[in-house]
């Protein structure tokens, strides 16, 4: 990083004409440079303590000594005999990533969420994964071999421009949207609804996400809460389709109504946060926080270390089923076969079950990797984490939908795990029934929602007269 800074500055000093300074790097002979952009704090950075070693039932031990990115460089050279250097950078949100790429940053592999992947697909900026990537006979194709069929299924259901997401993206992490809460202060009934964020009883003690889409989702769910819980609605034969339709509604009237809801909500919450929610929950400043399942796990883990028990709830109205996936950028790869191979190898390396476990342990999110009959590391890891020591008090938790129905995949977990980490990482099928994938909002719809989001942050002159 610093070397590039100095190099950049030297160019300035030499007053090189403005045009034509696209800054293409001199690549050392034979060395592949892979530019990866990932979310902040979204990969195992190594440096675990000895006692953190994960010891699985079959004797496998997993310990993150070095950063996963460094391990990849080493592994790639061993496996493919080519030297590789990863330039790793991070961004805060999907929008930031998109913005960086629109303003001239070039990456080879990036990790946006499903809606951003769809947007990039629409703009024809993504490179499809090669056919060999899906060849299960190749040992190193870990993604294709080990990713859960459930996730693959959802990825083939989502499409844009006549192509499915699965042609372009390897899923990295997935989860739900829900509420982390302090069970000592809040009842399960209160957190079963998004309306908790508007409850004046908890004014300034709940936090909302500073994210257009997640907040819009919560606002929309509040607007439709009554209807969604009515028996007729739930009994509809095409319930899931209708739910999805309603939760992707971006008509002006709906947006206006949600704007009113969110305006009130903003006044009620402690802050609109992007990341600090985790820390504030642990210190007890905040009692409930809208969160993605992965952050929720991390928060619960952190709180446990400080002796605080937190829990996770997926509101009964509905939840947002989300995915982050690795995609290759056309303008980065530029038809360079070596680069493409390296990029796909990177996705595969992250999908190797032991690496998936390292990431899950480190960041708390849930990997789509399930393994197969021969490689059961991930399932063992779950059992290692959540399997109850006292079989009698345990509750059976069926994860067949994720790990496959061919063999029994039922974890006997302590009852408390039913609203804690296990439930958060791997929701029940019942929760997934009321889950909705939020689509990418195009053109006008996007403008409407962006304007709505700006509006709720603005000081409303009318308020002065209302009082």
């Amino acid at each position: 990083m610093r070397r590039r800074l100095i190099a950049g500055l030297v160019t300035v000093c030499m007053m090189i004409p403005l045009v034509g300074c696209s800054g293409k790097e001199q690549e050392a002979s034979g060395e592949i440079v892979l530019r990866i952009a990932n979310c902040e704090e979204y990969i195992d950075e190594g440096d675990w303590d000895e006692e953190e070693t994960i010891e699985l039932e079959d004797g496998t031990t997993i310990l993150g000594e070095n950063a996963l990115v460094d391990d990849f460089e080493e592994w790639y050279e061993e496996t493919y005999g080519q030297k590789i250097r990863v330039e790793y950078s991070t961004y805060g949100t999907n929008e930031e990533l998109y913005n960086q790429m629109s303003l001239g940053d070039v990456f080879d592999v990036v990790c946006p969420s499903e809606y951003m992947i769809m947007k990039l697909m629409k703009e024809d900026r993504l490179m499809p994964l090669s056919e060999t990537f899906f060849d299960d006979s190749v040992e190193e194709n870990y993604y294709s071999r080990y990713a859960s069929d459930y996730i693959k299924g959802v990825f083939t259901d989502l499409s844009m421009n006549g192509h499915t997401i699965s042609e372009y993206a390897g899923c990295y992490m997935w989860g739900t949207l829900g509420i982390v809460y302090n069970p000592a202060e809040l009842t399960a009934d209160e957190v079963a609804h998004y309306a908790i964020f508007m409850n004046p009883k908890y004014a300034k003690q709940v936090t909302m996400k500073d994210s257009i889409r997640d907040s819009y989702f919560a606002g929309l769910a509040i607007r439709n809460a009554e209807e969604f819980q009515s028996e007729e609605f739930l009994a509809q034969p095409d319930y899931r389709d209708v739910l999805s339709e309603r939760m992707n509604d971006t008509s002006q009237d709906t947006v206006d109504e949600v704007e009113d809801i969110l305006s009130d909500m903003r006044e009620n919450v402690y802050s609109l946060e992007t990341d600090s929610g985790k820390a504030d929950m642990v210190t007890g400043k905040v009692l409930a926080n809208l969160q993605w399942s992965g952050d929720a796990v991390y928060t619960m883990d952190q709180a446990e270390e400080d002796g605080v028990e937190l829990a996770y709830s997926v509101p009964t109205e509905c939840t947002n089923l989300w995915f982050d996936g690795w995609v290759m950028m056309k303008n980065g790869i530029e038809e360079d076969a070596r680069k493409q191979q390296a990029a796909e190898a990177f996705i595969n390396f992250l999908s190797r079950p032991d690496n998936a476990i390292r990431n899950m342990y480190y960041i708390g999110y849930t990997s789509p990797i399930a393994g197969d009959a021969d490689n059961t590391l991930v399932y063992q890891y779950l059992d290692y984490n959540y399997g109850a020591e006292d079989e009698e008090e345990a509750v059976a938790y069926d994860l067949g939908y994720f790990f496959g129905e061919d063999a029994p995949h039922v974890i006997n977990a302590p009852e408390e795990q039913m609203n804690r980490q296990l439930f958060t990482q791997y929701p029940t099928e019942e929760v997934l029934q009321r889950s909705v994938v939020m689509r990418y909002f195009e053109g006008d719809a996007n403008d409407r929602i962006a304007q709505m989001w700006t509006n709720i942050r603005c000081f409303d002159v009318k308020k002065l007269f209302r009082k």
């Binding site: 929008e95 402690y270 609109l272 700006t454 603005c458 000081f459």
Partner: protein, 261 residues
């Protein structure tokens, strides 16, 4: 061609043209066009007809006014005491007041934030108050400096003369001191007012989620909406123009700038 001293200025002249004047023209261009490059007033029309956007302008104004007023209230006596020799080694004390400016403002604000959250428990209960405290804390030295500079040059015999002629303290302050120190006041106000309307980092750090003018640019920037971002910039530029014009009328010595340490 013979070498002349004038030519030394050419690089800077070009720099100013390309990187100071041209960017503003480009901002104007974006402000008055829409996505397909057609000329339009729509960006502005939307801003000035939308109650919420005007609310932001109002809110920024209120924040800036209070911050500037508070800075002035604190800085004026301070500068006066230091400049008039009420306190020995005035110049050294001034240096001490300005010293924290060397610490990055985000780090300084972190410090203030920690103190406030210790005192208040939950920062979100008083977002407005905290914003004002944060801004005043951040901008105070910028107000002290120009005030000190003018007051040091002020002829103190005039004040004594007014007193000898029987003027009360209030009259001396109103009729003699304030007029004499006007250039310093104006240049201090220009240095504080505008940043207070635009520095949205202070708000963010103080858990105030209400937008000010600067945050609008930031949010349009992250939504890659160049046209509306430029529109807000243009509104701000007009304000800046107005402020500079007023300060020129009042004869502020802006050349004191920040060139102190």
């Amino acid at each position: 061609m013979a070498f002349t001293r004038k030519q030394l200025g050419i690089p800077y002249a070009l720099f100013l043209l390309i990187f100071v004047v041209l960017p503003l023209l480009v901002v104007l261009y974006y402000a008055f066009t829409n996505g397909s490059g057609q000329f339009t007033f729509e960006n502005f029309a939307q801003f000035f007809t939308n109650g919420k956007a005007l609310g932001t302008l109002l809110y920024s104004f209120v924040i800036a006014l209070i911050t500037t007023g508070l800075c002035l209230l604190i800085a004026y006596p301070t500068a006066y005491f230091l400049a008039k020799g009420r306190i020995p080694h005035g110049a050294a004390w001034l240096l001490i007041i300005v010293l924290p400016m060397w610490i990055n403002f985000t780090l300084r604000l972190t410090a203030m934030k920690e103190i406030l959250s210790f005192l208040e428990g939950n920062l979100a209960y008083h977002p407005f108050l905290n914003t004002i405290i944060g801004m005043t804390y951040d901008f105070l030295p910028f107000m002290v400096l120009p005030l000190y500079n003018t007051m040091e040059k002020m002829d103190h015999q005039l004040i004594d003369a007014a007193r000898d002629l029987g003027a009360s303290d209030a009259v001396v302050i109103r009729r003699v001191m304030i007029p004499l120190s006007m250039p310093g006041i104006v240049s201090g106000v220009t240095m504080v007012f505008l940043p207070a309307m635009t520095n949205y980092v202070v708000l963010d750090m103080m858990y105030n989620s209400t937008y000010i003018m600067g945050s609008l640019i930031g949010s349009y920037f992250s939504a890659y909406n160049w046209h509306d971002g430029s529109m807000i910039s243009t509104v701000l530029l007009l304000l800046i123009g107005l402020l500079s014009w007023i300060s020129k009328k009042a004869g502020a010595d802006t050349e004191e700038g920040g060139a102190i340490l």
